[in-house]
Subunit: 306 residues, 2 copies
C-alpha cells in the first residue's frame, strides 16, 4: 500500500489528510469546490519551503564563493555591510542582517555577465558545493515530501510554480531537475537586463540594477505579472510569504495556504522568529487568523531529504 | 484528406511545407534537429500576427471608447498629442504617430482600477465592439490559419506563448478563448501595479506608470524574464518583432522565424512600410539576410477569418 501512496514521506493524518481532501474536492465535477484544471495554480516559495535555507540561503553561499570576482568587478560594493560580511566570510554578521540586504548584493554581483554565462557558473558551482553542516550537496537538499507533493499536484491537473525571493536566473538552473518545474514557471527576484546584438550571437546581459525583489507584497505583484491568475494553493515558510498566502486564500471557492515550520533540529534545523534572513513571526502567531495551516517538519514528515 | 489536414487554411507548398518540415524535424529522436518537448517554445506577436491591427490596434479602439473616463481621471493627459487625437476621435492623426506614443496612453488610462475591474471592462466591451471596416466583432478577428498553426504546434509538443506590444492584462482577456493560450503564457506591455489589502479582499491595482513597453529589444528581455529559455520558433509581422525573431534564430539547432506580410487588401488590408503604428520596413527589406521567412496573407492563406 505504501508503495502506491503518492505522499509516502508525509505522516498520516493532519496536513496530509488536508492536502488529499483538497485535491479530491477541486476535481469533483459538479461539486461545490470544483476548479477547472486551467485554474489549478499552485505556488511554492523555494528557500526554506522546497529546499534548505539555513543558516544561509544557497544563493548566499554561492555568493560567498564568488566573492573575489565581485570585489574585482566593483570595489564600491565593499562599502555595504552585507558585502563586508561576505568578504570576511562572517556568517554570524550575515545572519543578523535583513534578507533584502543580504540577497540584494547577491543579485547585483553578477552584473556584466550574460544570463547564459551566469547560469553556467551556477551549474558548475552546484556540481560540488556542499552544505557546511548537513554535508550534502546543495543540489540534493530539496525536501523529499515537497517533491512528492509537487508530483501529486501535477498528476491531478495542477500547474506548479515557484515564487521565490531568490534570483530567478539562479533558481531556474535547478528547478526542472529538482522539482520538475520548467523555467517559465519560475517567478523570482531579478536585476534589469538588456538585449545585445553587436557582432556575435544575440544575448541577454545582466545589469547592476535591481528590477524586482520578489518578497512580501512583491510576490503578489509578480504572480499577477507572470501568472495572471490568482493561485488556489500557496505554500511558504516565512513572513515574506504571507502576502502571497493571503492573496491566494482571499479568492472565491476552494483554497489552501500552508506554512512549513522548521522545528526539526535533529534532521534539519529549528528556527523561526529569530532568523533574520527569513523571519517567521507574524505567520507563526497568526496562522489560524489568516486561515493558514502550519506544517511541522518534525511531525508531518517521516523523511526530510531523499 | 482536407478534413484531416491540421493546417487546412494554409495553401499547399511554400510556407506550409516549411512549417510541417520544421515540426517533423524537431520531433525526430536521434535526428540532427531533435528538440526535447520542454524546449519547444514558440512565441507569437499578437497585433497583426494573430488578429487584425489595422487601421488601429484593438486596444486603441478600446481606449477611444473609454476616452471619457480617461479625461475625467487625469486632465493632464490631454496635453499629450495621442490623447488629444484620441479625444477628438482623429484616427488619421493617431495612425501618423509612433506605436509607443499611441499605446502608452492606452496603458496609462486605466490607472487606479484593479486588474480585475479593468479586465471586466475589457470583456464587457468586447461583447459588442465591432471593427469599423470589417464589420465583425473585434473578438472574432483572429486569423484562422494562425489558430490552426497554434493547435498544430501544441499537438506536437510545443508550448505556445504570446509576446505582444499590447497590454498584458488586455490580451489575457482573450488569449485563452481565441488562441488556447492561458494567461501565464502571455507576455506583454504592462504598467506598474501594487498589492492592496486594506479592509476588503486583497487585490492588485494598476498604477499610472509604465513598467515595460514590450516592443523591439524589450521583447527579448521579457522573453528571458517570463520564459527563461530561447524560443525555437517566432512569428511576428512588424519591425517591432525583429529582435524577438533574431534572438530566436540565433540559438543553436533547428530554428524558424516568420513574418506575416499584410498584402491582402481584398480580404483584410495591405500595409507595411508606411504604417507608423506597426512599421514593417527593415523586416521587409532584409528578411532573407536575417533568415526570416515572409508569409504572404494573400498567397499563403486560403482563408483569413473563421
Amino acid at each position: 500500500m505504501a508503495g502506491r501512496d503518492p505522499l509516502v514521506s508525509w505522516n498520516q493524518g493532519g496536513i496530509k489528510a488536508t492536502l488529499i481532501d483538497f485535491v479530491i474536492r477541486v476535481q469533483q465535477v459538479g461539486g461545490p469546490d470544483f476548479v477547472p484544471p486551467a485554474e489549478r495554480i499552485a505556488v511554492f516559495d523555494n528557500d526554506g519551503t522546497l529546499w534548505c535555507e539555513f543558516p544561509l540561503q544557497v544563493q548566499v553561499f554561492f555568493t560567498l564563493d564568488e566573492v573575489g570576482r565581485m570585489a574585482r568587478h566593483d570595489p564600491k560594493l565593499l562599502e555595504k555591510p552585507a558585502f563586508k560580511a561576505l568578504l570576511a566570510g562572517d556568517l554570524k554578521k550575515l545572519a543578523s542582517l535583513p534578507k533584502r540586504e543580504v540577497l540584494e548584493p547577491a543579485f547585483a554581483v553578477h552584473a556584466g555577465m550574460t544570463v547564459d554565462e551566469f547560469q553556467k557558473t551556477v551549474a558548475d558551482w552546484l556540481q560540488s558545493a556542499k552544505h557546511p553542516k548537513l554535508g550534502r550537496l546543495f543540489a540534493s537538499n530539496a525536501y523529499q515530501p515537497q517533491r512528492e507533493l509537487l508530483d501529486y499536484l501535477r498528476s491531478n491537473g495542477f500547474k506548479t510554480f515557484i515564487v521565490t525571493g531568490g534570483g530567478i536566473d539562479f533558481v531556474r538552473v535547478v528547478s526542472e531537475r529538482l522539482y520538475g518545474i520548467p523555467p517559465e514557471q519560475v517567478v523570482g527576484s531579478s536585476v534589469k537586463t538588456q538585449f545585445e546584438n553587436h557582432g556575435e550571437r544575440p544575448r541577454i546581459r545582466k545589469l547592476p540594477e535591481l528590477r524586482s525583489f520578489d518578497d512580501r507584497d512583491e510576490k503578489a505583484v509578480n504572480i499577477d505579472l507572470h501568472i495572471g491568475r490568482r493561485p488556489i494553493l500557496a505554500f511558504g515558510n516565512s513572513d515574506g510569504d504571507l502576502t502571497m498566502l493571503r492573496y491566494t486564500l482571499a479568492g472565491p471557492g476552494a483554497r489552501l495556504g500552508l506554512i512549513l515550520h522548521h522545528d526539526d533540529a535533529e534532521r534539519e534545523f529549528a528556527y523561526d522568529r529569530d532568523f533574520k534572513l527569513s523571519v517567521l513571526k507574524d505567520g507563526l502567531d497568526h496562522a489560524a487568523d489568516y486561515g493558514i495551516g502550519l506544517v511541522s517538519m518534525k511531525n508531518d514528515w517521516n523523511r526530510v531529504f531523499a
